[in-house]
Amino acid sequence: MKAFTSHTGTAIPLRRSNVDTDQIIPAQYLKRVTRSGFEDGLFNAWRQDPEFVLNQPQYKGATILVAGPDFGTGSSREHAVWALQNYGFEVVLSHRFGDIFRNNSLKAGLLTVILPQEVIEDVWSRIEADSALAVTVDLEAREILFADKKVTFELDDYTRWRLMEGLDDIGLTLRNVESIARYEEKRPSYKVKTLPVRS
């Protein structure tokens, strides 16, 4: 995973609430067996509409998605995170995220930042007035900077550290492999096993 310290880019307003992961990437696009190439499926149904915000030329190249509340609800598909990353997004701002989507994003290195809805509204109106407005997301300081504003956000120390170091979660867990083995020795014998197959 790429380390994330701070990111500055332009932002795009997605003024919709309850954007579920089926909208982010429809099921028909989930058949690939790789982690790349999902950008074509991103918001596929909505992109058929020339008015849709992703089709507006002034937001081309934006790397920060500013979404309505309850972004990423529904299905656990991590493909939704990959589609956003494959398209070029580094950060998503929203008042509230679906739990599994949020978890997936922070595992895969897409920074999802929770902000009060008033801040989201403020960013929306400013980037709608000036699509070239630079927005900085500083993970180290846990701050968003845009225009003359500075807003702090919360993220637990552990996740922040992991993202800033770009650490592989599995590698971290395997440091505790002896604890895992000890736990396994104590598991009761009635605990179910899938093998051998019983019928």
Binding site: D22, T34, P69, S75, E78, K193
Partner: protein
């Protein structure tokens, strides 16, 4: 201080705990399917890792699989590649796989319980948000993404931040024709799709105790639609009776030891929940969705709301968008909505009791002309059982299609899809835009409402049918 059921299970699975870090939880069962696993296996190969516990892992093919001509190769080459990839990965890493055509194949959340592999007190994960289904057994079960699938394959553990606890108390007795699907749809309409976010929901109360295991699974299944990653119900005699004798149930002295542990799995009387929600079972009636998220629902005998009925701006805008997408007029009766397709199936309502309930309504009647009804059992075993009971004949005589097992039209990854503008009454779990096919419109319903709707061609309950 007392502990909640979820806290007890959590504490029993902590492998490693340190201040400022998420707890490392042991995972008792990892379920796998073809869609969210290929990149995880690739990750293992890239880093030279292996599967730590193939004997705690189980794979099925369900999302992509066709529900007709299953003896022929899968026609869609991309679906075929994904299924073939799972077969190759399962063989390479020594994982038990139930493939298309196998009697144990089916939707992963139907297969676990029917094999007796889903048991109380377990931690269960799967790269699928409806893993919460298994919570019906008093297990802590939740959906994970592909990065986490790889993590569980490699370590049989997951680092997890402790969730908050929500109690949903459902007291009273359901009226005839009202099902567990109506309970969960009414709950989601009440608390919203974000209402359960960050929580594990424990469903409690006399109405829960009275439900069968399969009805409980329907409720826990849709916890994620309320935003909660997991939902569970304390195990009781109903649970133990359901498990006993299944192929992977403990036997002999092991059974006694297991039950002794399972009986300790309940929330202590002095346990604290972060939030409590009450629902009155006596006052519930059949419930349907009118919008494009599962929280946009209403009693079947009411009218479609208008955006102006919602005080909050976000909800108003969402309702306006939803009505436009759904092609519906505000303030028209829900029972006047005409349906093209009825889908009976999915991990929510594709079990034998669901098929029995729908068959009883449709028996001796006909599917309305111009309506297509698809009956897709949740697993090959459910299908076999239904055929043994003659349910397939009931559906076929009514003019419905009797299909092979799989996820099918719940998400339309296989050819079972709605066409643009088509409208379904569906026993599945999500009414998102385009979920059942691009431009398709979905109303979520119970199996009873699905069957009555198939007969009348408009959203209906069995009470609306003559004689």
């Amino acid at each position: 201080m007392g502990k909640t059921l979820a806290e007890k299970i959590w504490n029993d699975h902590v492998v490693h705990s340190a201040a400022g870090e998420p707890d490392l939880l042991y995972i008792d069962l990892h379920l796998i399917h073809e869609v969210t696993s290929p990149q995880a296996f690739d990750g293992l190969r890239l880093s030279g890792r292996t599967v730590r516990r193939p004997d705690l892992t189980l794979a099925t093919e369900d999302h992509n699989t066709p529900t007709i001509d299953i003896d022929k190769p899968i026609a869609d080459p991309i679906s075929k590649l994904q299924v073939d990839t799972l077969r190759k990965n399962a063989a390479e890493f020594g994982i038990r796989l139930h493939s298309l055509g196998d009697i144990e194949q089916g939707i992963v959340h139907v297969v676990g319980p029917q094999l007796g592999i889903t048991q109380p007190g377990m931690t269960i994960v799967c790269g699928d948000s409806h893993t919460s289904t298994h919570g019906a057994f008093g297990a802590l079960a939740f959906g994970i993404g592909t990065s986490e699938v790889e993590h569980v394959l490699a370590t049989q553990t997951l680092p997890q931040a402790k969730p908050k606890m929500m109690a949903v108390n459902v007291e009273g007795t359901l009226r005839k024709g009202v099902t567990s699907k109506d309970i969960i749809l009414a709950l989601i309409a009440k608390i919203g799709t974000g209402g359960g976010q960050g929580y594990v929901i424990e469903y409690r109360g006399s109405a829960m105790r009275a439900l069968s295991m399969e009805a409980r699974m329907t409720i826990c299944n849709m916890s994620i639609e309320a935003g909660a990653r997991a939902g569970l119900i304390a195990p009781d005699q109903t649970t133990f009776d359901y498990i006993k004798g299944r192929s992977h149930a403990p036997e002999g002295e092991e059974w006694n030891r297991a039950v002794e542990y399972w009986k300790s799995l309940y929330s202590d009387s002095d346990a604290t929940f972060d939030v409590q929600v009450d629902l009155d079972a006596n006052s519930l009636s059949p419930f349907v969705t009118w919008g494009t998220n599962p929280g946009q629902g209403a009693p079947l005998d009411s009218i479609i709301p208008a955006p102006s009925d919602f005080a909050e701006e976000g909800a108003r805008n969402a309702a306006e968008r939803a009505l436009e997408y759904m092609g519906l007029q505000a303030h028209t009766p829900l029972k006047s909505v005409k349906i093209d397709t009825v889908f009976l199936g999915s991990c929510t309502n594709g079990r034998i009791e669901d098929l029995r309930a729908a068959a009883e309504v449709i028996k001796g009647r006909k599917v309305a002309s111009g309506v297509r009804m698809l009956v897709v059992p949740g697993s090959a075993r459910v299908r076999q059982q239904a055929q043994a009971e003659g349910l397939n004949k009931v559906f076929l005589d009514a003019g419905a299609e009797w299909r092979e097992a799989g996820c099918s039209m719940c998400l339309g990854m296989n050819p079972d899809q709605l066409k643009p503008g088509e409208r379904s009454a569906s026993t599945s779990n999500r009414n998102f835009e385009g979920r059942q096919g691009k431009g398709g419109r979905t109303h979520l319903v119970s199996p009873l409402v699905a069957a009555a709707t198939a007969v009348r061609g408009t959203l209906s309950s069995p009470d609306d049918l003559e004689g």
